[in-house]
Symmetry: C2
């Protein structure tokens, strides 16, 4: 009997992501996922008891990927503002590379069992915490002082969601910088202190 390997379960998750991204949840059968992943049905069921379990695993997997990505981009960035930009850029890129992810998250929230947090809630909390940490670092380092940290973190993350879903494509190369500039300095460029500065 073969043992479970990370590699095989990743293969299954990637195949499932492709299928869930193009077909409705109830249209995707476990055997379709097995075929797409080129594994036997028996193998598939050794990893995931049913479609629902696979679905949750898929969201957990995406969440871990996003965390890893954020760690990678935050580490080399210098200063809180640059980290903020790196974080914004990485989140947009991640969702752009995984276009099925929004539907997965939305579906999970629509169908999640009452009383059980949706599997993406933890990720959302982590992102908020990460942002609040950057806000604190910005203040400690004298880069910026966020007036309403909790509110601003929600506004920024929610705004990103809209930009990712409904914003212009292809993305401007300046997008992350524009978002962070508007976020920190305000969308209004007519303020006296800004007129004298070159923003872009």
């Amino acid at each position: 009997m073969r043992t479970k390997t990370t590699c095989q379960s990743e293969k299954v998750l990637e195949a499932a992501a492709r299928l869930f991204g193009t077909q409705r949840f109830h249209e995707v059968r476990m055997e379709d996922i097995a075929a797409e992943a080129a594994v036997g049905k028996g193998t598939l069921y050794r990893y995931f008891a049913d479609k629902e379990e696979l679905y949750w695993a898929l969201l957990t997997h995406s969440s871990a990927q996003l965390s890893r990505r954020l760690e990678e981009v935050l580490e080399p960035a210098h200063g809180a503002r640059q980290q903020l930009e790196a974080m914004v850029e990485a989140i947009i890129a991640f969702f752009d590379e995984n276009p099925h992810l929004f539907d997965l998250i939305q579906r999970a929230e629509v169908h999640h069992r009452p009383g059980v947090a949706s599997p993406w809630q933890q990720t959302r909390d982590d992102l908020l915490r990460l942002l609040l940490g950057l806000f604190e670092a910005g203040q400690r380092q004298g880069e910026f002082t966020i007036r309403h940290p909790d509110l601003a973190a929600l506004m920024l993350l929610g705004g990103l969601r809209s930009v990712i879903r409904f914003g212009k494509r292809p993305r401007s190369r300046e997008l992350a910088r524009q978002i962070v500039t508007d976020f920190l300095r305000g969308a209004d460029m007519s303020q006296s202190c800004l007129v004298t500065e070159k923003i872009e």
Copy 2:
């Protein structure tokens, strides 16, 4: 034979909203909705051919209510900034009063037929247009000049969505003002031009 009346169809929609707000879509039966609305099943089917049609009608109805509400609050507001605050406040209040609405919208987007826009898309477009109109008014009247109007409108609406879903309750009475202040002047209060001003 009785004719359709607006009043009766509103009664049905309100009953449906209550049920869809507390039960999963597939658990709500047309007869439950008829009972909740205190109308006969025949009457119900005269208005709505099936649950899916009723569901779309419900979103359309909510959308019209929100538009009406926005007209009411924008009309008496003086100046673009005050209108912006009134709009933000009204959107938050509307979703707080209709807590089932997010789930309805999300469900509609998860289940909408491929190629057909979700029924809320029109509302989203209307809100964006309204915001862009306010931005233009603000510039015309010399109140503010939005640096990246399309981007800022998406960021603001998306941010509102997050605040409504995940923000602290009870809402601060200053919430709309805080959001608009951060939006126009930036979340960073350490900018020199802001330090001399009293924001709150």
